[in-house]
């Protein structure tokens, strides 16, 4: 089957030439998309100081920090950027996957805070409610999220002390009593619980099931409920992201059940699948780290060291690769394909690159890498502390989204169709 095109060219030369120029496998962006990118950067210049980088799990230590983050949420809401991909009826802009991607990349690069309304408001609580929620739930809960209100800040109650990566083994129990559910149990590693107004809770509603995946339901829980206690879990360098949340006969109205009782597992899986953009944001963040490190190398003179040059080049390649893999998922989603193993593939890869990049960065900083990442204003802090932040928190991130090993198992089963191990 020869593909010389001369006969073809003879006939339709004009159309063909057009085809070649415009429709080749395309890694570029439209003018509108580039405009949007510039608009985001304009927003950053106007609203964020160049002296602080809010990315890399920096959710703000102090109340002042938190107030600032919420003020950014508010401004993002004004532009409808909090809910960029939501349908217009829920206050969104209903933009394409590609445009969402651009936003996530920029958020990663500039470290724009306050984009997710707690840990989960915009990313999966909203979209899940649109799919599974009642009309009343939609009317009550979506507007505060879209508006960037304090009342739209959510945390997510999945993990429990003994469940680890094995989410389905959760034990927190919600018992139906009249038109209420009474909740008892404990959640752990709950990011943002100390800031959130609401919790997106997965609890067991039936213990007599053959497969532990059955008998799980999802609830909307007021964090101000009686019997609910939030306990800070400081991390090993003293920062406060995580919490324990205790439920002692916490009563919530039955109408705060999401979807169908005991069918929560598939809803929960759907919610998890919304978290596709991890690699996009992370590659933006790592691009920033790499540019900052290159500048540091230029200023310190170590850019002349061939070892530094070689490693910078390697990381450029890795970050570019990760970014392109993230784009692959976006493109697949855009054309309606189902993305299954790709986010796991990219998550595992991202953890590894970030781990190596942060260690390399720390080596480059030498003595300056000794400085505590919480002391962002010390005069010995370099690169706004982002290297130390990454160095100490990579493992936390690796664990937070399911461990890297678990991600690789998923890719093995769904990406390579290998038998379960």
């Amino acid at each position: 089957m020869p593909f010389r095109r001369k006969p073809l060219l003879d006939r339709t030369i004009a159309i063909y030439k057009k085809l070649i120029i415009e429709v080749i496998m395309d890694f570029g962006f439209s003018e509108e998309q580039e405009l949007f990118r510039r608009e985001i950067r304009e927003f950053v210049r106007k609203n964020l100081s160049p002296d602080r980088y809010w990315g890399l799990l920096d959710e703000g230590e102090t109340d002042e920090d938190w107030a600032f983050i919420m003020s950014i949420s508010k401004k993002l809401a004004e532009k409808k950027w909090l809910t960029l991909s939501w349908p217009k009826e829920y206050g969104g802009l209903a933009v394409s996957h590609v445009q969402s991607m651009i936003f996530e990349q920029e958020v990663g690069y500039w470290g724009i805070p306050g984009t997710s309304m707690g840990i989960s408001g915009t990313s999966w609580v909203g979209p899940s409610l649109m799919l599974f929620g009642t009309d009343e739930q939609k009317e009550t809960f979506l507007p505060p999220i879209a508006a960037g209100d304090e009342d739209g800040v959510w945390c997510t109650g999945y993990s429990e002390p003994d469940s680890g990566s094995d989410l389905a083994s959760l034990q927190t129990f919600a018992e139906r009593v009249g038109d209420e559910y009474v909740i008892n149990g404990q959640k752990v590693w709950t990011s943002c619980a100390h800031r959130a107004r609401w919790m997106w809770l997965a609890a067991r509603t039936n213990r007599d099931v053959k497969k532990k995946h059955h008998g799980i339901s999802l609830f909307l829980v007021d964090m101000q409920s009686q019997g609910l206690k939030v306990n800070p879990l400081r991390n090993f360098v003293g920062q406060h992201f995580f919490n324990e949340v205790f439920f002692d006969d916490v009563k919530i109205p039955a109408k705060n059940l999401v979807g169908v009782e005991n069918k929560g597992w598939s809803q929960l899986m759907t919610a998890l699948s919304f978290e596709r953009g991890l690699a996009l944001g992370a590659s933006g963040t790592m691009k920033r780290m790499l540019e900052e490190l290159t500048e540091f190398a230029k200023e310190s003179g170590s850019i002349r060291d061939p070892l530094v040059r070689a490693r910078l080049a390697d990381f450029f390649m890795e970050v570019e690769k990760l970014s392109l893999l993230g784009q692959e998922s976006v493109w697949k989603a855009e054309r309606g394909d189902i993305v299954i193993y790709e986010p796991s593939r990219d998550k595992a890869n991202m953890d590894e690159i970030l781990d190596e990049l942060s260690r390399f960065g720390a080596d480059m900083l030498g003595g300056y890498s000794l400085v505590h990442p919480m002391h962002k204003n010390s005069r010995w802090t370099r690169l706004k502390g982002m290297i130390e932040q990454a160095y100490y928190f990579v493992m936390g991130m690796a664990v937070a989204g399911g461990t890297t090993d678990t991600q690789r198992n998923i890719v093995a089963n769904f990406g390579l169709k290998l038998p379960r191990s």
């Binding site: 590609v98 690069y109 540019e291 910078l312 080049a313 392109l324 890719v411 191990s421």
Partner: protein
């Protein structure tokens, strides 16, 4: 952003895959490699007839106006099918002719490549065994209407059957200027010229490598490619383009080896369970797949840059850098996961592994490309320091 192939691209991919599947099965690869010249001239003629050699030439030179992405797709299929052929060095030279050749040179040489399948080779690396232009020692001394070339080139691919060479030399005029980089000139040389001696180097890839010795070989001024003393830029362009094409070929090969290995580990049982059910095996395969997926997009983003006439040096070099890492890794780990049987000459995986070093060499080593990227990074103003336009 749309990562789908165009209809034309899909057609090239599909038709070339089918062609090589039929005409170049692995047994044929073994036979072809065993030949002195390292390939089968009949297969080469068929490839020429299909328009492969002139794919990206303008119509006026007998080509079909294809773009760089199509060329990369073709290389991918050649990598997948292990096609032994002088395609790569020929296209390396042809692209340089297209970009730097005079009108006369193009008219004289390109139709021969596109229609008659004249093969070319690039005689560049010398005793350093590297592609860095700073390692060039071969001299061209002005005499009469041109230059006399003397020196030895090493690891010249498929040189024994080439119709022409591109040869890099130091030209005296520029050497006096004191700058080695800019003192280089590229000559078009007929291998049949007096003073050219070609000797085969026994390589593990059996890819027709030769040592080519030039002893006072006279080359007329009209056979200078580009201009006198400006050869370093030509070589740089050749390396950038061929890095991407070679990376595409390596991507095809790497994907094939991954598939071979996945299939093997699914079938093969050990301790009463499929090898592919061991977590250690799975994670190796997953890591390889991740890198191969990533390589694909680096390659095609780079190729897209050339197709849009806006190549990105960092991406081009990143594609080859990643290819060098991935291709070797999947071959070595693939061999490992095949166990002892992968080591035998009957299994196809060894055919790929035999090429790993040659693939690494052609189109530039990892060190060379790391330095290209580092230079670009050094030059660039970071985004966060840019003042908005």
């Amino acid at each position: 952003m749309d990562l789908a192939l165009t209809k034309d691209q899909e057609m090239i991919q599909k038709s070339s895959r089918e062609f090589f599947k039929k005409e170049c099965p692995t047994d044929a690869v073994r036979d072809m490699r065993a030949k002195d010249q390292g390939y089968d001239k009949k297969l080469w003629k068929k490839m020429v007839k299909l328009g492969y050699s002139g794919l990206v030439f303008p119509e006026e030179y007998g080509g079909s106006d294809g773009d760089f992405v199509e060329l990369a797709l073709l290389m991918e299929e050649m990598g997948r099918a292990l096609v032994p052929s002088p395609f790569f060095p020929t296209i390396q030279c042809a692209l340089a002719l297209l970009q730097f050749g005079s009108k006369e040179q193009k008219a004289k040489f390109l139709p021969g490549i596109a229609e008659k399948g004249t093969t070319w080779s690039i005689a560049h690396s010398e005793r350093s065994g590297r592609l860095n232009t700073s390692d060039i020692e071969m001299m061209a001394v002005a005499e009469g209407d041109g230059f006399n070339l003397s020196g030895t080139k090493l690891f010249v691919p498929y040189a024994a059957t080439a119709g022409r060479f591109l040869v890099t030399c130091l030209t005296k005029a520029n050497e006096e200027a004191g700058n080695g980089e800019n003192g280089i000139t590229v000559f078009i040389v007929n291998p049949k010229a007096d003073g050219v001696r070609i000797e085969g180097v026994p390589t593990v890839a059996q890819d027709g490598r030769c040592e080519v010795t030039f002893e006072n070989v006279h080359v007329s001024e009209i056979d200078i490619l580009g201009s006198l003393g400006k050869g370093a830029d030509i070589i740089d362009t050749i390396i950038q383009q061929s890095a991407v094409l070679k990376a595409a070929e390596m991507y095809g090969g790497a994907r094939a080896v991954l598939e071979l290995t996945v299939n093997y580990t699914k079938e093969r049982k050990q301790f009463d369970r499929p090898l592919a059910s061991f977590q250690a095996v799975q994670h190796r395969l997953v890591n390889l797949m991740t890198e191969i997926d990533g390589l694909k997009y680096l390659v095609f983003k780079a190729a897209w840059g050339f197709a849009k006439n806006n190549p990105d040096r960092s991406i081009n070099s990143a594609a080859k850098l990643k290819a060098n890492a991935v291709h070797s890794a999947v071959c070595r780990q693939g061999m490992y996961l095949h166990g002892a049987i992968g080591w035998t000459e009957e299994m196809d995986i060894g055919l790929y592994h035999r090429q790993t070093r040659a693939m690494d060499f052609d189109g530039g080593s990892s060190d060379l490309h790391r330095e290209v990227i580092a230079c670009e990074m050094e030059k660039r103003t970071p985004l966060y320091k840019q003042v908005p336009a």
